[in-house]
Amino acid sequence: MAVPVAFFALFFAYPVAAIVGRGLKADGVWQFGRVGEVLARPDIRDVLWFTGWQALASTALTLLIALPGAYVFARLDFPGKQLLRAVVTVPFVLPTVVVGTAFLALLGRGGFLDELWGIRLDTTVWAILLAHVFFNYAVVVRTVGGLWSQLDPRQEEAARVLGAGRFAAWRRVTLPALAPAVAAAALMVFLFTFTSFGVVQILGGPGYSTLEVEIYRQTAQLLALPTAAVLTLVQFAAVGAILAVHAWTVRRRETALKLVDPERTARRPRGAGQWALLAGVLLTVLLLILLPLGVLVERSLDAPGGHGLDFYRALGSADAGGGTFLVAPLEAIWNSVQYALVATAIALVVGGLAAAALTRRAGRLVRGFDALLMLPLGVSAVTVGFGFLITLDEPPLDLRTSWILVPLAQALVGVPFVVRTMLPVLRAVDGRLREAAAVLGASPLRAWREVDLPLVRRALLVAAGFAFAVSLGEFGATVFIARPDRPTLPVAVARMLGRAGELNYGQAMALSTILMVVCALSLLLLERIRTDRSGEF
């Protein structure tokens, strides 16, 4: 418990508190009156209103589109299912800079909808909502589908034998069992869309702003720390409330359900209805997820004089077409992998210990800590980044120019995933096994190695994979942190997109495609080693 608490306090709570405090204090006196002042501003109210309703609408739309998908992935068996499940998770870990571009290509001018029906959705709220579905589809499919695939179908069948109609049986048996998972997924989607940044910036155009975008603007552009501090507190309160409800639904879900091996519940589709559903879901995935990703790949190959690997080749040399990057773009991949490895290690240690502590101990305080560990997911990267700058500035902790700051920031985002993945598995380890080993003369280390490790190893790998993928794609915090000249992959993509010229644009697309493939591969690997109860992601 001590390690995760210390980590969380030092690298999250303290920096964030310091930057908020800087905004709310004037001449050493707290200015809580500012909260009222800021909240009374009509432009801020507009932002709050928009943030709330777009998150609600996004969540509803995501559930509507993704729940059939959850069913299909859980209950139907079809070729390529594992691959597809890995692919639908790719958007979740891709940086929004990249995806925004791909999405614009579909919804904007000359996009798919435009060519077919002359409909353009860029700079409308529809583009934002659809992109949110794109990003969060996997959250629903994995959270709800994961549980759905383990519910014993015989319970529903029993109800039908007893005379219940198909719908009534589903409503009375499956729905109640599923409800907490649906609620948990909805809350996660709400959390991610409530704090949406890149999607809103790129697809919404200047007319739309969420709380997160406004915090960024007030902090990074205007240096209006008081306003930013108030907004951060508002976001904190909202995210805290969401997490509290989420923790509650998770607890309810963990009350014993009779779970079975997912291998046994999935079947080949039967009947016109199931085939139609499968076709519908596959079409949705194709249009909503594969197409935008495909656009990226296509553009990365669209070299002058026909399709080819020109842009990929150019990535290898530091002085492609005139020589302006200090490092070869390919080096950015290696940087990213190194950072992500360190971040994964940190996230595993901190998250693993936290999960272990949460398993062994109960009580309100510990449960509160569980929710607290999720908080970094809902706090603006610029707040954390600027907080680092003003707190970690004295020896021995003058880390501001150290490379370690990047993996530390990335680990903050990785820890919640590790905790969420490990917790259910750790809770399932039967303590009596360990006691039996001890009785038989095993040392604690040996008991841990022989009993705990084999049981949690797979969960540990899954957690590591997620933390790795998330760290690889992390952009928000990384971009604010000054570092020796070692850009990460997403940062390199953003820098290239920030320049004119065909080669820069093509290389940005090629690098994005590489990032996408690396993410997809690590997720596919996860699919292979999935545990029976691999948490909710």
Binding site: V3, L222, L353, F386, T401, A482, P484, G501
Partner: protein, 367 residues
Amino acid sequence: MSTTHRTGRLAAAAAAAALGVTALAGCGSSDDQASDGSKGSGSKTVTLVSHDSFNASEAVLKEFTKETGYTVKVLKSGDAGVALNQEILTKGSPRGDVFFGVDNTLLSRALDSGLFTPYEAKGLDRVAEATRLDAEHRVTPVDTGDICVNYDKKYFADKKLAPPSTFADLAKPAYKDLLVTENAATSSPGLGFLLGTVAAYGEKGYQDYWKKLEKNGVKVVDGWEEAYNEEFSGSAGGKKAKADRPLVVSYASSPPVEVLYAKQPPAEAPTGVATGTCFRQIEFAGLLDGAKNEAGGKALLDFLISKKFQEDMPLNMFVNPVVEDAELPEVFTKFGATVEKPETVAPDSIAKNREQWVQSWSSLVVK
């Protein structure tokens, strides 16, 4: 009791694993050791803090080391505004010795916050008079760049229409629905273009001008990347995205960049510059207050306005030198535009009115 014991073992094993990886990653970065060395006095490392667009060729940085004995370490953090704000936040305990990248739109904010220690760089007399905006030498001008409307040459040739050349042209019916610009509240070219119109039409007239532009179908997007790569039909990205706006707010140096970064360099730049729509940005560097290596910082400032660095700069950052004896590379003189009369606004006037200008601009064109 026994359970906590086991958790402790788990911790030890995991921590050991983490340290292993950490050490491994540490091996890959030799410059980290240098950074640790820079803490002491009389250090041979000088740290330059800048924005993401900073670039210098390795050869010229080596030249600096050869001349002075100092090695330059570069820290980049975010875009120009973000990088400056981070410096202001860490004032007194800076991450480096010299900050490069504060421009005239942000200069007053930097000077008012007391970020810099005055130092008159050697060779300042060779620097163009018009760029020396601080008489106390807290900052040293390093480069200039012009924010101008770019046009897609092919579009105007196909339509047999003369491309616009002035602000007034942009509001004419012939150019209806052709221009895309950036959000002045969040993007520096967007702000530069707005300031250009303020300079051209005055503090009263600029609003009327923007009303006309609005009627003429100007499109506003959030950042330069979207405007240039997604909306502008003259860029490589825009062509792939089937963009339909042949006019975009970008830089006077964008056409040379298009040539330089083309896979097969064309004989002529695909884009041109409307030279009557330009706002001049001047970028400055300064010695940070509290710098650990003051001597090295001063040497670096001298170097930034040396002929060598100034001539290296255009192809690395796509900006113009400020010293009068520096020669521009051929790709600039051949494909770039000469801006005779760029618009400018005094830094303190920008500091005073910026928020209000941006706000009234927003209410006119952002809905």
